[in-house]
């Protein structure tokens, strides 16, 4: 028998209650869990970078370029889980040429392009342009031409032109903040606008996605900053960590509040779908929701961060604690994506039963593929840090 059908017979045997016959197989699998996780990291990392640029939080300066390059590395990979998940990936270009204006998913192509080209690439370009011109003059051979091309042939580094670099970079960053909100908010809207699925359908969904995205992005930049400093054998500055930790703490509180509000309202209103959702949460999603997302991903980091915020004395293991918090938060946000995407498909639209989900290891929709898309950005980041090292940039004389 066709192995795919064998797999479906197994699921059929494990389904509970009544499900519509077509609902046996989950439509959106692990790759669709990975995609919002990745774009969330992009949005979150960018918001952290803009804190330094627009809101002038000076302490975060060492993380500025790291945050931007992290955002770029993840953004470059962001489309791949989507394309590899399509059952007709060779037709993916259709979204760009005939986007259906009533579909949130159709926005994707243009929002992505806008964010990549107008926001992220431009901001990095304006920030690095001076250094790239200098490097193109210093280097020889292939690298000389690489940097020359990257400067788009503009070699003017007079003070007046440099001032425009800063001005334009500032404008782009300001434009970039709502753009980052749209880049990830629309993913939340894709789920939140599906009236057929009561686990997804809520106006809070884009906002919940956005806040958990910010949480994940901030944690990721914090972790990468620590890892890079370790590899470069530089001291990790504690006041930078404390500052990031403070933002992480407040955004995590907001995120927790929003998600809590969504659930409290659902429990209180107890409309038609509540019975099956109650079963979903208490049985199928128990581990991933209460333990992984709730306890590990939210409560423990919150308590630890609160402790670190208010306990003013020196703590030896502070850096380790921040590192662990970062990882726990990322686990929590990944679980949140899992709970939304997979959880929403486990119960039937008949509200009378459940199907089951087993992630395959191999294949275009399997765990290995998902792991590859999650790890690839780190490789890209390493390359970008080699190509555009933040610590070798030309020192600007005048700060704004």
């Amino acid at each position: 028998m066709d192995p795919h059908y064998q797999h479906l017979y197994n699921i059929l045997a494990h389904s509970q209650g009544y499900i519509f016959p077509n609902e046996i197989d989950l439509q959106w699998g692990i790759l669709i869990v990975v995609y919002p996780f990745i774009t969330g990291l992009v949005a979150g990392a960018f918001i952290l970078a803009s804190l330094e640029r627009v809101f002038k939080v000076k302490i975060l300066k060492p993380t500025y370029q790291i945050a931007l390059l992290t955002a770029l590395s993840f953004l470059l990979v962001a489309t791949m889980p989507l394309i590899s998940h399509l059952s007709q990936p060779q037709r993916a270009y259709e979204i760009m040429i005939t986007p259906h204006s009533s579909s949130a998913m159709a926005i994707f192509g243009f929002v992505y392009l806008w964010y990549l080209m107008v926001v992220l690439l431009l901001e990095i370009w304006f920030d690095y342009r001076h250094s790239m011109v200098v490097w193109s003059n210093e280097k020889t051979g292939v690298m000389k031409w690489v940097y020359k091309i990257l400067t788009l042939g503009v070699s003017d580094i007079s003070p007046r032109t440099l001032k425009w670099d800063r001005k334009l970079g500032y404008i782009i960053t300001v434009v970039g903040i709502p753009s980052a909100f749209i880049l990830h908010g629309y993913v939340g809207f894709i789920f939140g606008s599906i009236k057929a699925n009561p686990w997804w359908s809520t106006p809070l969904m884009p906002i919940i996605f956005l806040f958990s995205a910010m949480v994940s992005g901030i944690s990721m930049v914090m972790l990468i900053y620590m890892i890079i400093s370790y590899f470069r054998k530089k001291t990790i500055e504690l006041n930078v960590l404390d500052s990031i930790g403070k933002f992480l703490f407040f955004v995590l509180i907001l995120d927790f509040t929003l998600e809590g509000l969504d659930q409290i309202q659902r429990i209180y209103e107890a409309e038609e779908s509540f019975e099956i959702i109650k079963l979903l949460v208490s049985s199928k999603l128990y581990l991933t929701l209460f333990v992984s997302q709730g306890l590990i991903g939210t409560i423990i980091p919150l308590i630890t961060l609160a402790f670190l915020q208010f306990y003013k004395h020196q703590i030896k293991l502070k850096k380790t604690m921040y590192f662990i918090i970062g990882i726990l938060v990322l686990i929590g946000v990944y679980s949140m994506r899992w709970n939304v995407v997979i959880g929403g498909q486990l119960f039937s639209k008949s509200f009378s039963g459940f199907t089951s989900f087993k992630v395959g290891l191999i294949g275009l929709d399997g765990t290995l593929m998902a792991a590859f898309w999650l790890l690839l950005p780190f490789g890209i980041l390493a390359f970008l840090l080699w190509l555009l090292p933040p610590w070798k940039m030309v020192e600007e004389d005048s700060e704004e």
Partner: protein, 154 residues
């Protein structure tokens, strides 16, 4: 008043202009011809959806050759049932005329699909029989002519 345009801005404007023009040109060639004819879809798809072959011929096609069966069926309780409900898709048989190209179902389970006792079946919608008690072991059509079910065969 001298208007200063920073060189990086002009270079960027050029780069974007090239990119956007390339995109528009590519789009012109990629969008299917009939797209947008009737709405946001490929107009030719309506023709594609009308093309598949039919498998069920409809009982009018059966009556063209099998007038006798039609007359028989019209006299009894199966009169409102179309031929292909029991005989399956008939278009192949209509084209080829071969008896092998259409089903001639037998067996208690087959008739039971409609006639088994089931609490969900309204009593006045279909005549129901307990297949576990009624003439076990015998084929239904040994006694009942499917085209004239109440005329018992001898």
């Amino acid at each position: 008043m001298k208007f200063y345009i920073p060189p990086q801005l002009t270079r960027l404007a050029l780069a974007f202009a090239i990119f956007i023009s390339l995109f528009l040109v590519l789009r012109h060639f990629l969008v299917p011809d009939t797209f947008g004819q009737y709405g946001h879809y490929r107009g030719a798809s309506l023709i594609d959806n009308a093309l598949p072959e039919i498998h069920y011929a409809g009982q009018e096609a059966c009556f063209e050759c099998h007038q006798d069966i039609q007359d028989l069926k019209a006299q009894d309780v199966h009169s409102s049932i179309h031929c292909e409900t029991c005989h399956g898709p008939g278009q192949k048989h209509v084209t080829s005329g071969e008896a092998a190209d259409i089903l001639k179902p037998t067996g208690r389970e087959f008739c039971g699909r409609c006639h088994t006792m089931n609490a969900a079946r309204q009593k006045n919608a279909v005549f129901q029989v307990d297949l576990n008690k009624h003439n076990i072991g015998k084929n239904c059509i040994e006694c009942h002519n499917p085209h004239q079910p109440w005329e018992m065969k001898k």
